[in-house]
């Protein structure tokens, strides 16, 4: 009976991630195709997607790719782009009482943005189980690796994804998810602070500092409004 329940949970996760899988296919294809133009072989493209599994940092890596590859610069840029994962794992880590300690760490290895966001949505109205998380993570991981492989093989045959608006698919997914986190005026304060800091930082600093700045500003805003409320009470 327990395994039937786990299977049901797994399928629930698969259903939740299905629309994001549809959205990640074109992104993976584009990643593979761009990587091919930078001189990466299909094996190298597949390895990067399988081992790094963090789309944003993989695209940034292609931006700064050199021949031969500069491993220190690439590793450091991945660290910067992905530093937001620290906040994400700290947040979702408090919502995983159903996970054993090793399962928690294993789950973190696949904590891509999309998987984290769906897991947060699930944890906000139900118990997040390892089977449900696996239903999110495993198919998304496989499709990301396969799509980037296919893109590196198809390479030049793909058109410009911008022309048909596909590059907007992920911002759109995130907008929908943000709407789901709305809990009244306090959320509005967090969003306004985060947006303002992110836009300002993005205009002033190169790279992806804007994500860290926006996150920090949002958290600071919620702490400040909390303090003011305590002072009034």
């Amino acid at each position: 009976m327990k395994s039937a329940r786990a299977f049901e949970d797994f399928l629930g996760g698969v259903r939740a991630i299905a629309p994001l899988i549809v959205a990640v296919v074109p992104i993976g294809l584009v990643f593979g195709a761009v990587a091919a133009t930078k001189g990466l072989s299909s094996l190298e493209v597949g390895l990067m997607s399988a081992l790094v599994f963090a789309g944003g940092s993989q695209f940034v890596a292609l931006d700064i790719w050199t021949n031969p590859a500069a491993w220190a610069a690439l590793g450091f840029s991945a660290l910067l782009v992905n530093i937001r994962h620290l906040l994400m794992s700290a947040s979702i880590g408090t919502k995983m009482p159903a996970f054993s300690a090793p399962a928690k760490y294993a789950a973190m290895l696949l904590l891509a943005d999309e998987i984290w966001a769906m897991a947060e949505v699930r944890a906000s109205d139900a118990r997040l189980t390892p089977a449900w998380y696996a239903g999110l993570a495993v198919p998304f991981y496989l499709v990301w690796v396969l799509a980037s492989l296919a893109g590196s093989i198809a390479g030049a045959f793909l058109g410009d994804p911008k022309a048909i608006g596909l590059d907007f698919a992920f911002p759109a997914v995130f907008i929908v998810l943000v709407m789901g986190f709305w809990k009244g005026r306090e959320t509005g304060t967090v969003l306004a602070a985060s947006a303002a800091a992110a836009v300002l930082t993005q205009q002033l600093l190169p790279g992806v500092w804007y994500i860290a700045a926006g996150a920090a500003a949002g958290v600071a805003a919620t702490l400040l409004t909390g303090q003011r409320r305590e002072a009034c009470a």
């Binding site: 629309p19 491993w71 860290a212 909390g226």
Partner: protein
Amino acid sequence: MTLDPNTLLAILAMAAATVLTRVSGLVLIHFVTIGANQKRALEAIPPAVLMAVIAPTALVTGPAETLAALATALAAMRLPLLAAVATGVLVVAVGRAVIRV
């Protein structure tokens, strides 16, 4: 099928950096006790991070992107995820074709 040693080293460095960011949050919450303020901060993280990721695209990239972001947000109130995303993609494609900057 070639595997350049420099490329492999770069991939491994990127993978190590990414794994470090993904597990360090878990390590962190072991050492920090979660009081009311910490809880409020943790709750603000998901919307703050998501907003930071989308803000430059939604606000300062161009009129087509801003319009599409608005359309997506409105669609999200009524439609399921994939339909709202399709709305955004459609609006941005049409907007880029129509609005000449």
